[in-house]
């Protein structure tokens, strides 16, 4: 298994990451892109701001990959998360998983993004026209 994990301050280059996961042994690439929606809780979003505890975020991402790779045959996986300011439509996160077969690809890709949202120290602030809020902070 080859793994590429990064948190970046510039735009995520999906095309390059996608090309990177390609492998002649893979029959399936499942990719997830998380983008900034133009609304949240029925309010119009102006932009997002992401901050991360960088070294730990990378470690936690690696833990997610190591955990799931114990149960599934993964050929390559690339995870890149954006930090800093993002406009509506911007790519917040991209995850691409190359596996021999597709069923495991869907399972692995979904596991990574679901777990990322629970354990990786990255915080998102939604900025509206009339205020801002740290997402998930309150129940």
């Amino acid at each position: 298994m080859e793994v590429l994990i990064d948190l970046v301050e510039q735009d995520i280059d999906i095309e390059t990451l996608y090309q990177w996961v390609l492998s002649p042994e893979a029959g399936s690439i499942v990719a997830f892109t998380g983008t900034v929606r133009n609304n949240s809780s029925n309010k119009s979003v102006t932009r997002l701001e992401f901050e991360a505890y960088l070294p730990m975020a990378k470690k936690e991402l690696r833990k997610i990959v190591d955990k799931i790779s114990a149960d599934y045959d993964i050929i390559r996986v690339a995870i890149q998360h954006r930090i800093g300011i993002l406009p509506v439509g911007g790519v917040a996160v991209y995850i691409a998983v190359a596996t021999p077969h597709r069923a495991e690809g869907f399972t692995v890709c979904k596991y990574i993004i679901d777990t990322l949202k629970k354990t990786v120290p990255i915080w998102k602030k939604e900025v509206f026209e009339d205020g801002e809020v740290w997402v998930s902070a309150n129940p």
């Binding site: 992401f50 949202k117 629970k118 120290p121 915080w123 902070a137």
Partner: protein, 80 residues
């Protein structure tokens, strides 16, 4: 002993700053630290939960603090 705290996300807003050095009794645990924090900043009580990390790893409530520890305050994460 002195413990250095580093805050992210909403914790930074609650503490009005990203770092804080506090005095805490020898042998105190994360749980004690949390109680201290909530006492100083009652806003922390409003969070869904509050986690901590030392040396880039999550720590449990029972983890004992050591002098010179740098404790990261991790409010609910929201990446992705």
């Amino acid at each position: 002993m002195e413990i250095r705290l580093i805050a992210f996300g909403v914790a930074k807003d609650i503490m009005a700053g990203s770092t804080l050095t506090i005095q805490i009794e020898e042998g105190a645990t994360i749980s004690t630290l949390k109680d201290h924090l909530v006492e100083i900043y009652p806003e922390f009580n409003k969070l869904a939960h509050l986690d901590f990390a030392i040396k880039e790893e999550y720590v449990s409530d029972e983890t004992q603090l050591n002098v010179l520890d740098e404790v990261i305050i991790i409010p609910p994460v929201s990446g992705g």
